[in-house]
């Protein structure tokens, strides 16, 4: 069944068939330990359980020294003999056994394929093991934190999102890819970008510019921004998936490149920046290898409206939800201590409207690539 799914699933996955990773032995050991623990408890006549660290703000600690979000010690016990947890307990074990099979066969599946792999009707009932993918995704995340193994180590990857071009050559699973010669489409950042899959080659870039979404990225790419300014241009399709974040981090660490973010002027843009910079709450346990505490926020700034004389047309009114979210973000401990950020959010709230990066198009098609970003970079006008 795994073979069939892998073949039907994302083609990118099949390319990595047989890729044994150094982490496999360890992950396999942890999976077997989980099975043994549950079996032993069951045979001994006690209620079997799995402890799952809590993935929520309440269990997220801001490490001011390291400037990243870290996961706390709180965990939830998932018992079999508890009506509210029995189904999830069953699903956790089902996914675990699925992952074991993947690792043993040296194959990878997407989150969606993993859902299909574990999907069947429970014998003697009309109940399915998973109602939809929404139910299986969190279980995979639960398993990650419970085992302390990353999703990639479990041979599961998320759908691919995000693109990159720039003055860099990479070696993807043995294939040399020149990111200078990617045309208009760019190179799709895979979900797994660990050194075992992606290695860096020749690099002439001086910095990384990360933009929020594909439309803006296409503008920069068409204007050959990365060539003129010697940089790497990435895009994360909104909230960047793990692959993008991990690649940014690796380029930042291993190539020594500073990261600048060009995001929308709204609470969601701010939160994207926050996730790139100090990690997300949901995956706080991964911050250590994902977060880039030195990343900078170059725009769009709330003050840009007056500074660049933008017109009323670009204003998008803040909804109640936006306002609430902005206030929430301002209170996060990693923003609370930063006066500049407090001012920025206050200005946003005072303005009462948000702006997308595209609003700069009103000043000229290439205003953002020829004037806005170069000016900001030259003046070192950014938020930290």
């Amino acid at each position: 069944m795994a073979k069939k799914n892998a073949a039907n699933g994302a083609a990118a996955a099949t390319g990595r068939v047989g890729a044994k990773r150094p982490s496999d032995e360890r992950t396999l050991g942890r999976l077997v330990d989980l099975g043994t623990k549950v079996s032993t408890e069951s045979v001994a006549g006690s209620d079997p359980f799995v402890d799952i660290p809590t993935r929520a703000l309440s269990n997220t600690n801001w490490n001011a020294k390291r400037r990243i979000l870290e996961m706390g010690d709180a965990s939830q016990r998932r018992n079999l003999f508890n009506l509210g947890q029995a189904r999830k307990f069953m699903q956790t074990l089902l996914i675990a056994s699925g992952c074991k099979e993947l690792i043993e066969q040296g194959k990878t599946l997407s989150l969606r394929s993993m859902y299909y792999k574990s999907l069947h009707t429970i014998a003697g009932t009309k109940e399915k093991t998973f109602a939809d993918q929404e139910e299986s995704d969190p279980i995979i995340e639960d398993l990650e934190v419970a085992l302390g193994s990353l999703r990639e180590e479990l041979h599961v990857f998320a759908s691919e999102r995000g693109k990159v071009v720039g003055n860099l050559t990479i070696i993807d699973n043995g294939d040399e890819i020149d990111l200078r010669r990617m045309g208009t489409g760019g190179y799709a950042i895979p979900s797994i970008v660990e050194p075992s899959v992606i290695k860096f080659g020749k690099c002439e870039a001086k910095f990384i510019l990360h933009v929020e979404k594909g439309t803006v990225w296409a503008r920069f790419n068409e204007d050959r921004f990365w060539q003129k300014h010697g940089c790497i241009l990435t895009e994360g399709g909104g909230q960047p998936p793990r692959g993008v974040r991990r690649l940014l981090r690796r380029m930042h660490d291993e190539l020594g490149l500073p990261v600048y973010c060009l995001l929308d002027c709204d609470p969601w843009g701010h939160y994207i920046y926050s996730v790139i910079k100090q990690g997300s709450m949901n995956l706080a346990f991964e911050s250590e290898r994902m977060a880039i505490p030195d990343a900078k926020f170059i725009g769009i700034r709330a003050s840009d409206y007056e500074r660049y004389g933008l017109t009323d047309d670009v204003q998008i009114a803040l909804s109640d939800r936006d306002t609430g979210r902005a206030k929430q973000i301002a209170e996060y401990p990693w923003f609370a201590g930063k006066k500049e950020w407090q001012r920025e959010i206050q200005t946003l709230l005072r303005n009462g409207f948000k702006m997308e990066v595209e609003s700069l198009i009103t000043k000229g098609i290439s205003f953002v690539t020829e004037t806005y970003v170069p000016q900001k970079l030259a003046q070192k006008d950014w938020l930290d």
């Binding site: 006549g45 003999f81 307990f89 069953m90 074990l93």
Partner: protein, 356 residues
């Protein structure tokens, strides 16, 4: 048939002027004092004297000399005088057992309850109200409930809306007992309601004897009888809900154990059967524990115990003969198939099996 009733004389509060005049004409008594003592219940010599005095007459007044005006004054005096309530051995209830047997025979339901009120008096006339309900089973849950009315063991077929019994059913708040009841209507539920009024004088609204007239005392008794049945129904429904919940809980565990043991086997590479057996055993132990908890907690909501002991309740178990103790003189009650709601829930039947 219920035993014969005692005959009583009219009670002073229960007569009208015309009847009083008629009684005065037909009596064999010669003097007023003797007339009252002889023709009425609950009137002694002193009360008779009091009545005559307040009508401006004496207990020695000759009955033959009482004119129409005197009779009117006497009637008013009767209205005002204080006398005790009439004896109630003159009315006879059908009895809960017979009521239940009747319903069981006619209505295919799963729950039956009946209650007989103690005798009461309206306008000096003793009466007894009895109510019975049948719920669930083959009854239609989408239709308004049916109300069956009886007066002195005779069914009333017409003018339902004008009848006090029907109004009492409307007036009762069935929502309290977990049934749906649209405003100003009978409950929409798989329910049949039966009401019986036994009295020396049933106050019909007209000579056609189709509907019982409204008297506060009668309506109140009817309501109380219905409420008694309703409370038992609620107890039953609560218990049923609880059992369904317990059943769900149990089957959830049983469902997942197969998957869990299989996954464990795949993870460890060892035999899944041992884990399966161990978990099955645990699940059974846990659910047995749930039963115990339920029974212990039964005090809060109720377990089958108090309902089972209640003479006014019959619960038809699926595929079981109703009424384990036969109705007197009737032999065993007919077996009734019912309880479709129960039959759906396997857990419920296992639980019942354990109890019995």
């Amino acid at each position: 048939m219920p035993p014969e009733t005692e005959e009583i004389k009219p009670h002073p509060k229960g007569i009208e002027l015309g009847i009083l005049i008629q009684m005065l004409e037909r009596t064999s008594a010669t003097q007023l004092g003797a007339f009252f003592k002889q023709e009425f219940c609950r009137i002694g010599p002193s009360v008779a004297k009091e009545i005559c005095a307040s009508a401006g007459l004496s207990d020695r007044t000759w009955v033959k000399q009482v004119g129409h005006a005197d009779a009117e004054r006497l009637y008013q005096a009767l209205e005002q005088v204080k006398v005790s309530a009439p004896p109630t051995n003159c009315v006879q209830a059908i009895g809960t057992k017979t009521l239940l047997a009747g319903l069981l025979k006619e209505v295919k339901a799963e729950f039956y309850a009946a209650s007989t009120r103690p005798p009461s008096v309206y306008r000096g006339r003793p009466f007894i109200i009895e109510a019975a309900i049948a719920f669930g089973g083959a009854l239609d849950s989408e239709e308004p409930s049916r109300v069956i009315r009886f007066a002195n063991r005779v069914p009333l077929q017409y003018q339902q809306a004008a009848c006090s019994s029907f109004k009492a059913v409307l007036e009762t708040n069935w929502r309290n007992y977990g049934l749906a009841q649209p405003r100003g209507s009978v409950p929409v539920a798989p329910l049949v309601v039966m009401l019986h009024m036994a009295s020396v004088w049933v106050p019909f609204t007209s000579e056609s004897k189709e509907a019982i007239a409204d008297y506060d005392e009668i309506r109140k008794e009817m309501r109380l009888a219905l409420q008694e049945c309703g409370r038992r129904l609620q107890t039953y429904l609560n218990r049923r809900r609880r059992m369904a919940r317990q059943g769900e809980r149990r089957s959830a565990f049983l469902r997942y154990i197969g998957e869990i043991s299989k996954s464990c086997g795949e993870l460890t590479g060892r035999d899944a059967k041992a884990v399966y057996d161990a978990l099955m055993k645990q699940a059974e132990a846990k659910t047995a524990e749930f039963d115990l908890v339920l029974d212990d907690e039964g005090r809060v909501v109720d377990d089958g115990g108090s309902l089972a002991k209640d003479e006014g309740v019959v619960i038809v178990e699926s595929r079981q003969t109703a009424l384990t103790s036969p109705v007197e003189g009737e032999g065993a009650a007919p077996p009734v198939e019912g309880g479709t709601l129960f039959a759906d829930s396997p857990a419920a039947s296992t639980k019942r099996a354990k109890r019995s």
